[in-house]
């Protein structure tokens, strides 16, 4: 199988105390050196196959978006490697990254904040084309831009408008068109539908899937909504506090969820049939702060099956069935 993206032991952390003075704290009458570090992404590995959709799912603060931004090197990785189409891009400089930027594009969550409000829609789409040399001249770029806008459902006469003249769903379409403009192979979509109403959400999801079929894209899809993830993905990883606790194919995970967190997540989803919440036990507590991570397994204090070993040792990843990995002492 052809992999387009391979992420190995990726790490991302943010230091809250900058400089040597910030690290000195006054405690119990003494000055001590103390560092607070947010471990947002903690040693995760996964790969995305060509033409497939890999989703990362989890609650807020679990590091989904940071993972996406680290992969595309909007934030420099602090450890591990990222391989794109067989080449290691982890240590590339900004200029070296440029040719890869053309091949991987991002769709952002908030369509109200991700478009330049002072540019006309046409310019928003043609600028990356001219920059990356996808179109040789302005007139060629314009022609291509109108074509792409048509594909996402924006009419040619609307192209000279400004972003504020569009609704949220239309803006998200423009964001998608911008990502398509440079003819990428790989698209990272960071919660592209969570800011939209359900009827618009369905339109955008359909559009993303149609485009995938047409251009044979691969997607890394970030979402918190499990039903959306189930609808759109081929493979997925469930994240909790910067770790992928379970990953595998859609069928593996939805038909046979193994990790207690995945199970809890599934039982918390409201369903149209109206019986899920009544029958589920749910899950107690809340996500701990990622500054002071719990010892052992990060999930142990919310886990109904926690044993002694869970409090002491972080479990190692285990392949339970073909391609289905889980990070839990129970297996």
């Amino acid at each position: 199988m052809n992999t387009i993206l391979k992420v190995k032991n990726l790490e991302q952390r943010f230091e809250l105390d900058k400089g040597i003075l910030g690290k000195i704290k006054f405690k119990n009458g003494k000055f001590v050196k103390e560092e607070r570090i947010v471990r947002a992404v903690n040693d995760i590995s996964f790969s995305v196959d060509k033409g497939k959709v890999f989703s990362l799912v989890g609650e807020s603060g679990c590091g989904k978006s940071t993972t996406a931004r680290t992969i595309i090197k909007l934030i420099e990785p602090k450890g591990g490697t990222v391989e794109f189409a067989g080449e290691n891009i982890t240590d590339l400089t900004r200029t070296e990254m440029l040719k890869y930027r053309k091949r991987m594009q991002m769709i952002f969550q908030d369509p109200y904040a991700s478009l330049n409000s002072k540019q006309k829609v046409l310019n928003i789409i043609t600028e990356p084309m001219l920059f990356h040399g996808v179109a040789a001249s302005k007139s060629e770029a314009k022609e291509k831009a109108l074509d792409i806008l048509g594909k996402v459902g924006i009419r040619p006469e609307q192209a000279t408008r400004y972003p504020h003249q569009f609704s949220g769903g239309q803006r998200q379409r423009i964001g998608i068109a911008r990502a398509l403009a440079v003819e990428p192979e790989f698209i990272i979509a960071d919660e592209p539908v969570s800011a939209l109403d359900v009827s618009i959400q369905a339109q955008i999801l359909n559009l993303l899937m149609d485009l995938k079929k047409e251009y044979n894209f691969s997607y890394l899809f970030i979402a918190h909504d499990l039903s959306v993830v189930k609808h759109i993905s081929d493979d997925l990883g469930v994240m909790y506090l910067g770790k992928i606790v379970e990953k595998g194919s859609k069928v593996n995970i939805f038909d046979n969820p193994l990790h207690p967190y995945t199970k809890a997540l599934f039982s918390s989803v409201p369903k149209l049939s109206g019986t899920n919440l009544k029958n589920s036990k749910g899950i107690r507590g809340e996500i701990p702060s990622s500054i002071n991570l719990p010892s052992g397994c990060y999930f142990h204090d919310r886990c109904p099956y926690a044993k002694q070993i869970c409090m002491e040792k972080m479990p190692t990843e285990r392949e339970v069935e073909n391609g289905h990995f889980v990070l839990c002492h129970l297996y």
């Binding site: 609650e59 807020s60 609704s167 769903g169 239309q170 109403d197 359900v198 009827s199 618009i200 959400q201 369905a202 339109q203 999801l205 359909n206 899937m209 918190h224 499990l226 039903s227 959306v228 189930k230 609808h231 759109i232 939805f254 809890a264 997540l265 599934f266 039982s267 918390s268 989803v269 409201p270 369903k271 149209l272 049939s273 109206g274 019986t275 899920n276 919440l277 009544k278 589920s280 749910g282 899950i283 107690r284 809340e286 996500i287």
Partner: protein, 327 residues
């Protein structure tokens, strides 16, 4: 027959702006019975929240409740003065807002904020009784160690915990009706499940009624007894939860339900509603939904449909009700 706690009749709330008049709520009538959970669902701009705010008359300029009756427990709230209304708000009818990050005052401890409700509405309690009541309330919404948490400020709580505090505040004066405006929208799914269960239990224990406003049909079908579906300021379908989810008759309800990806069923492609919610300044002629409706006929563009009964307590506003709902 359960007793009606709230009757809303022909409510119209309009916003008069320089650009024109927005009919945010346009001729809406509904009831809530004691001990019942009524869900109000629709997309943004449907007038759900304005309906909620209108019930306790929290509509500010340029908005105005034009006509209508809001009868709470036999009394018409529209006839009350602002002072009299303040005695109703928080005491008889209380509200839970969407964003737990902004609905608590950051400069007071949460104990103080709950106590304030008691100070206003339960005047015969002594100081120690009030403190005791606060502790009980916090305990009932699942906050552990309430004695010490009372002295904490809102920023020391997480989002889910803050929403619990907001619910405790809303419950403080034992209201008969709680209006919850998107209470779980800002929360994660596992926390949402906790809060929904909590609200369900509280309604059962206290016997109060709950009006739950949300955009999420799945949430509503989990906990509501009855559902009002709103579109462009009007109720377009109303009925028991089972009727609406399984045997919806309005094309808009059908569209809403079909556009949600379902965990239980694999759908090849989502059936979306084409187009977007119309501009509220410039509503279409006839049925508001006609430009997006796939069953639209000539009459839909000319004449506005009236609410008509299609089943026991199941009403819809459509010229051509769907047959049978789920295919």
């Amino acid at each position: 027959m359960a007793k009606k706690i709230l009757e809303v009749r022909n409510l119209r709330t309009y916003f008069h702006t320089f650009k024109g008049t927005v009919k945010a709520v346009d001729d809406v009538s509904f009831d809530i019975n004691e001990g019942e959970i009524l869900g109000v669902v629709g997309e943004s701009g449907g007038g759900k929240s304005v309906t909620g705010f209108s019930v306790i008359r929290l509509i500010e300029e340029p908005g105005k409740i034009e006509t209508g009756e809001i009868i709470y427990n036999g009394e018409n709230l529209m006839k009350k003065s602002e002072n009299q209304m303040n005695k109703v708000r928080g005491k008889d009818i209380s509200m839970i807002f969407q964003d737990p990050m902004t609905s608590l005052n950051p400069v007071y401890t949460i104990g103080k904020q709950i106590e304030e409700v008691l100070l206003l509405h339960e005047k015969d309690l002594t100081k120690s009784q009030r403190k005791q009541k606060c502790i009980e309330l916090l305990k009932s919404v699942g906050i552990s160690n309430p004695e010490s948490r009372m002295k904490s400020y809102p920023h020391q709580f997480s989002g889910g915990m803050r929403q619990r505090v907001v619910i405790a505040t809303a419950l403080a004066a034992s209201p008969k009706l709680i209006i919850a405006d998107e209470p779980t929208t800002a929360l994660d799914v596992t926390i949402q499940a906790q809060i929904l269960k909590l609200m369900q239990n509280l309604v059962e224990e206290h016997g109060c009624a709950l009006m739950l406003i949300t955009h999420d049909l799945a949430v509503i079908s989990e906990i509501a007894d009855r559902i009002n579906v709103m579109y462009c300021g009007k109720i377009i379908e109303t009925g028991n939860t089972k009727d609406i989810i399984k045997e919806y008759k309005h094309p808009y309800t059908e569209g809403l339900i079909n556009s949600i990806p379902d965990l239980d069923k694999d759908k090849k492609k989502l059936e979306s509603i084409s187009g977007i919610v119309p501009n509220m300044f410039d509503l279409p002629e006839g049925c508001n939904f006609s430009p997006r409706c796939r069953y639209c006929k000539q009459i839909c563009k000319e004449e506005e449909p009236e609410l008509q009964q299609v089943g026991q307590s199941h009403y819809i506003a459509c010229h051509f009700p769907l047959k049978g709902g789920e295919k």
